[in-house]
Symmetry: C2
Subunit: 325 residues, 2 copies
Amino acid sequence: MSGHVIAFCGGVGGAKLAAGLARVLPSEDLTIVVNTGDDFVHLGLHISPDIDTVVYTLAGLSDRERGWGLARETWNFMASLRQLGAEAWFQLGDQDLAMHVERTRRLAAGETLSEVTAALSAALGLQAAITPMSDDPVRTIVRTAAGDLAFQQYFVAEQCRPIAEGVRFAGAAEASPSPGLRAALGRSDLAAVIICPSNPYLSIDPILAVPGVRAALKAVDAPIVAVSPIVGGRALKGPAAKLMTELGVTPGVAAVAEHYAGVLDGLVIDRADADAAPVLRGMGLQALATDAVMVSDDDRARLAGEVLAFALSLEGGSRLHRRAS
Amino acid sequence: MSGHVIAFCGGVGGAKLAAGLARVLPSEDLTIVVNTGDDFVHLGLHISPDIDTVVYTLAGLSDRERGWGLARETWNFMASLRQLGAEAWFQLGDQDLAMHVERTRRLAAGETLSEVTAALSAALGLQAAITPMSDDPVRTIVRTAAGDLAFQQYFVAEQCRPIAEGVRFAGAAEASPSPGLRAALGRSDLAAVIICPSNPYLSIDPILAVPGVRAALKAVDAPIVAVSPIVGGRALKGPAAKLMTELGVTPGVAAVAEHYAGVLDGLVIDRADADAAPVLRGMGLQALATDAVMVSDDDRARLAGEVLAFALSLEGGSRLHRRAS
């Protein structure tokens, strides 16, 4: 293929496909746009969980067993922190800490989150452009019966137990797309936009909530394809299915398609959901049913290749639908 | 004995005697006043090396082989920091980091360094009052042929290699003694002030440079006794002897006595320097020659007991000399 590809992604699941895309595309042809709605300041440190997950995953440093953080991590900082009676609900590994400390230092020195992310991912040998969705603070807030919860409070401290009533993105209205996102969306050679299999409500919606992003997606000629994070009615990881149920939506690929209505040209689903393809087509979407569960590195690259081929096959396809909505 | 004891101290050597004093005195009878001239902000973290050394030493957590930091420390944060290309000249252990992160968080939340120090030392089970000399920033600057060097730049990055021409304490003129130091100096039951075997120029002078401290020492009735950090013309640890030579002073107990002129009633020296006792007496000081090199915990407690007994024996002694100078 020729042309530039944009990937929108959140944490673990999205990062796997982003890593696959980074393996099959020349680095100059890929911009990975990462959710920063999960970012927060903890113990004075600026923590960007999704950026770190993407960076660690692409660098081959992430822990595949645990599903987050670094492989061969140690936890002596946490043990000492607990001894001091300090807040210890958020796990910070000894190696991982270096990322947070250096990011915080650079931000305090006046660098933007985009600049910090570029510098730190380059230091780890990454060539793909990884950019935060915005350099401005956007904070995901989950509205629950027990009140508003900051994302990490909901996700880590409360382990997604509170019943969600809605999600909002504090600061989004005042945020601008990052320079990397803006530049990628404006490229004349844009070939595809891939929405990785991340939580639509918690990981992709924050990106779409940045002013100008939805409008830019409607305006681009390139096909826009998502990979469903829901397989067989369940989330591959995380609280997506639980959240959908609480928000009154039946978890499934149709609900994912409905959620992205007006944005997508096509949806990649797992073979387990192949019988939903007609429903998706009825919604004006092209569908590709394949093995959408990534276990190995080869799975990631294989799925990335299939998603790209699918996207390119849609060129000039259902854009009318998207534009009209 | 009855009455309150104040100990002035810096890092490793001083902390050993402070630990001995903490072992032989009821906790309510001891205030340990620690140099903060070595404090600095590194990677955005507020680091108080001497306070940490004192806290770790009293808590029995310090590494005796290495001579600084925590025992059974790990260094995975540093390895990761180097991988990120970040500043890595100052060693921060994984466990030690918790202290810096939590201190920085508390300071940013508005606590004073005194409050932070009290909270963190209490969390480690310490009962003795450990107080910074001041809650205001005082920064030791070493004037060298190569220009002014911030203390950690001189001490760690340059490993004391530059030839020193002088030492100054930036911010000292605007600093106030910490509440703990002020309260201790004002106690009517003050029984002794002990200057621990720390570097007179780099660890004790910053404390004496805090406005009001020298005047308060002249005004107190209690005897003031120092323990020489120089034994047999050499520093037990660190750059004291090198620094004295560079400043034109012959390293020795007489030079220590001269340096503290007008402050001391007595000086505790090692048996190796016993023949200097007459010279000290000629300077108006009482001298105690004993085993001043502390290796074991018992050495610390034994020396602490001897120093206290010596100080109390001087009550009403050479105060005239001190006041007159």
